[in-house]
């Protein structure tokens, strides 16, 4: 799909980069004039996706995580989080609420939150090759005319 703006950042799978990914996402989304609730939803969803890459994709090592943000037509924000880690054997199972392969500090609710806070979620994964999570959310926003895309 045609995009009007794009940002790509790559960072190592260190847990301190969870907050960094949220900040980058919020900064990019600001041009789309989101409401506070919409901004909170996308920050929460990106936090879940990036945490999954850090915790599950690279359980024993640090690897690259790529966050791509795109502003699509009709004020839709597309967020893609890609890793080159271990991959997910059974994506359908991983999407079930309360399912986790993490420890006691994981709730197994990350995928459920991504699904309920965003309009669309797709997960492509190949064991041993990595996982790509793509999410979309239409930002209805506050209706500021100055934030309409420029041609």
């Amino acid at each position: 799909m045609k995009h009007e703006n794009e940002a790509v950042v790559r960072f190592p799978s260190l847990s301190r980069n969870e907050a960094f990914a949220r900040s980058v996402t919020a900064a990019f989304a600001a041009q789309m004039d989101p409401t506070i609730d919409e901004l909170n939803d996308v920050k929460t969803a990106v936090s879940e996706a990036v945490t999954n890459a850090i915790v599950h994709a690279y359980p024993d090592r640090v690897g690259p995580v790529t966050l791509r943000l795109r502003r699509l037509e009709e004020n839709v924000l597309e967020i893609t989080v890609k890793d080159l880690g271990c991959g997910i054997e059974d994506v359908a199972k991983a999407r079930q609420p309360m399912f986790t392969t993490g420890g006691a500090d994981r709730s197994g609710m990350g995928m459920t939150i991504m699904e309920s806070f965003m309009n669309a979620l797709s997960i492509r994964s190949r064991p041993g090759r990595g996982t790509t999570v793509r999410m979309k959310k239409k930002l209805v926003g506050r209706g500021d005319p100055d934030c309409k895309p420029r041609s």
Binding site: S15, R16, T44, E48, T51, S107, T112
Partner: protein, 107 residues
Amino acid sequence: MTFTSLLQDKRLTILLSGEIDHHSARETMEAVTEKIRVYLPRYCELDFGAVTFMDSSGIALVIHTLRAMNELGGKLRLTSVPPQPRKVLLASGIQNLVALSQERSPA
């Protein structure tokens, strides 16, 4: 993520603040469990009033605290929960297991 705790009449209040994510949650979880283990409260209140962001790591923190309180036969309440953490908590259905309110509980 920082927290302050207060103990009065077997009531432990833990005031959480800042961002709760995977980076900060484990340390907080261990510290909260340690407070419960030491003080053996009858009631525990997790006050979210100063929490500026929370993802599903916060759900794990609540479940962990609930488990520790259940082992003591005590009760847990979540208070002063702002809209963003509230939405995350409600998505998990945690309100079926633990009382959750936007207000601070009366002293």
